[in-house]
């Protein structure tokens, strides 16, 4: 089965419903993780990292843009509106991705935690790789094309966080302890990132992506290549499932900051 255009996808209500749900997840994940990344601007551990991290963040926001563009093409509304004006209840990003970078806030006393950032970005970029690899074979051709494009750029992002992960795991005892503490925390919260939400069965049925269990296995195998001693507990969903529209106050804070300028003058052309 191959669907070549938005018009064609919209002819089948069940198909387009599952398809849109999947794209919202991809768009919202990249949107939130790049916002959390952008909050490190000027605060990264050293100047070279600042350049690298902001470049990764800008590019990831570009990926979010492409996914929102696909939704616009499918008749979901304008990109700006999709990014800025949707209510938290309809946001589909994994909850772990909206989590604050640490204590304080960007303008005052940003006591952000680098261990959280390294763990989160490494786990996320690994997940993004396996999810997009599966999507290159998606029945919706415009999405498969975008996945292929993103995968040409994303190895740089993943390689960057893999280096950090390796170096900190093989560094001082304090570094290792802090990474391991954040890994244990991630294990309690990352579960919903790996899920597909309400339309999981349909997504697989319509060949939009592989099944949830298979994706989870692939992710676990990839992560284990870099981190030999993974937490032994099963993955949890401490705060619920972002794929089903459940979110924390951290998402409200993120959206309020992200949309502050946009909401101050919606008619402005930038």
């Amino acid at each position: 089965m191959t669907v070549n255009s938005a018009e064609e996808a919209n002819q089948d209500v069940a198909y387009s419903k599952a398809l849109k749900e999947l794209i919202y997840q991809l768009a919202d994940d990249d949107f939130l993780i790049s916002f959390r990344g952008s909050e490190w601007l000027g605060l990264a551990p050293h100047i070279e990292e600042d350049v690298a991290f902001s470049s990764i963040t800008q590019n990831t926001m570009g990926h979010a843009f492409m996914f929102y563009q696909l939704l616009e093409d499918l008749g979901e509304g304008e990109i700006d509106l999709l990014a800025h004006e949707r209510h938290p209840d309809v946001r589909r990003n994994g909850i772990y991705l909206e989590k604050r970078n640490g204590e304080g806030n960007y303008l005052e006393e940003p006591y952000y935690d680098w261990a959280l950032t390294v763990v989160r970005h490494f786990l996320y970029e690994t997940f993004k790789k396996v999810k997009l690899e599966a999507i290159t074979k998606s029945s919706y051709k415009p999405l498969a094309n975008i996945a292929g494009k993103v995968l040409m750029e994303q190895p740089y992002h993943l390689a960057h966080w893999r280096i950090w992960m390796n170096q900190l795991l093989n560094s001082t005892e304090e570094a290792r302890d802090r990474i391991e503490a954040r890994l244990n925390e991630a294990w309690e919260e990352f579960g919903d990132v790996l899920e597909f939400g309400f339309q999981a069965t349909e997504m697989e049925h319509f060949d939009l992506i592989i099944g949830e269990e298979e994706l989870k296995e692939r992710w676990m195998d990839e992560v284990a290549k870099t981190i030999p001693n993974l937490p032994s507990e099963p993955l949890g969903k401490k705060f619920g499932s972002g794929r089903e529209g459940q979110h924390t106050e951290d998402l409200d804070q993120a959206l309020a900051t992200l949309s502050e300028v946009y909401l101050s003058d919606k008619e402005a052309i930038w």
Binding site: E48, V51, A52, F53, S55, I56, Q58, N59, T60, M61, G62, H63, F65, M66, E133, T136, P142, N145, I146, G148, K149, V150, L151, M152, E153, P155, Y156, L158, A159, H160
Partner: protein, 164 residues
């Protein structure tokens, strides 16, 4: 290729990338297809990096340049993801111009995710080291030449992704 298409291609060799002065969008390999229907021109381009903020400027600059031609009534520019841009699409002229501006062309035979290096665009030495894979724009990296002691930039290699 028709006479008109040739003329359009020639114009596109004069439209520079906003962030790489003197390197045209044509020499960067971004022009995928040129269609001419009497006075109407349709250009399909392939974006370099997805997060590149210059894409809108490029679109506008191409449109403006083409519409300045006397026989052109309208020009539509469209970015397509069906065809994927890779650094292999950069022409020899593009590589020459990049070097002139202290930017080394991307290495050949790059394996995604692997480390890579290039020769110094100033002195040609291979005694260089990677300072930061991420440079001032998404498409560039920062390197240092230990031979002539110049920092320089290189186009980051981007090639088609093969799932292993």
């Amino acid at each position: 290729m028709s006479q008109k298409q040739e003329e359009i291609r020639a114009v596109l060799r004069t439209v520079d990338d906003p962030e790489l002065p003197n390197v045209s969008v044509a020499d960067l390999g971004m022009v995928h297809d040129v269609l001419v229907k009497e006075g109407d021109v349709f250009i399909t381009m392939t974006p370099t990096f997805a997060g590149c903020p210059a894409l809108d400027f490029i679109k506008k600059n191409v449109k403006t340049a083409v519409e300045e031609m006397t026989w052109v009534e309208s020009c539509e520019v469209h970015f397509s993801f069906e065809e994927k841009w890779s650094t292999d699409a950069i022409t020899e002229e593009g590589k020459r111009q990049l070097k002139k501006h202290g930017i080394a062309p991307p290495p050949e035979n790059y394996q995604p995710g692997e480390e890579w290096t290039v020769d110094c665009p100033y002195c040609g030495s291979d005694y260089t080291s990677m300072e930061n894979v991420f440079g001032p724009t998404a498409c560039r990296s920062i390197l240092y030449c230990t031979s002539c002691r110049n920092p320089f930039e290189a186009m980051k290699p981007v090639v088609d992704y093969v799932i292993t």
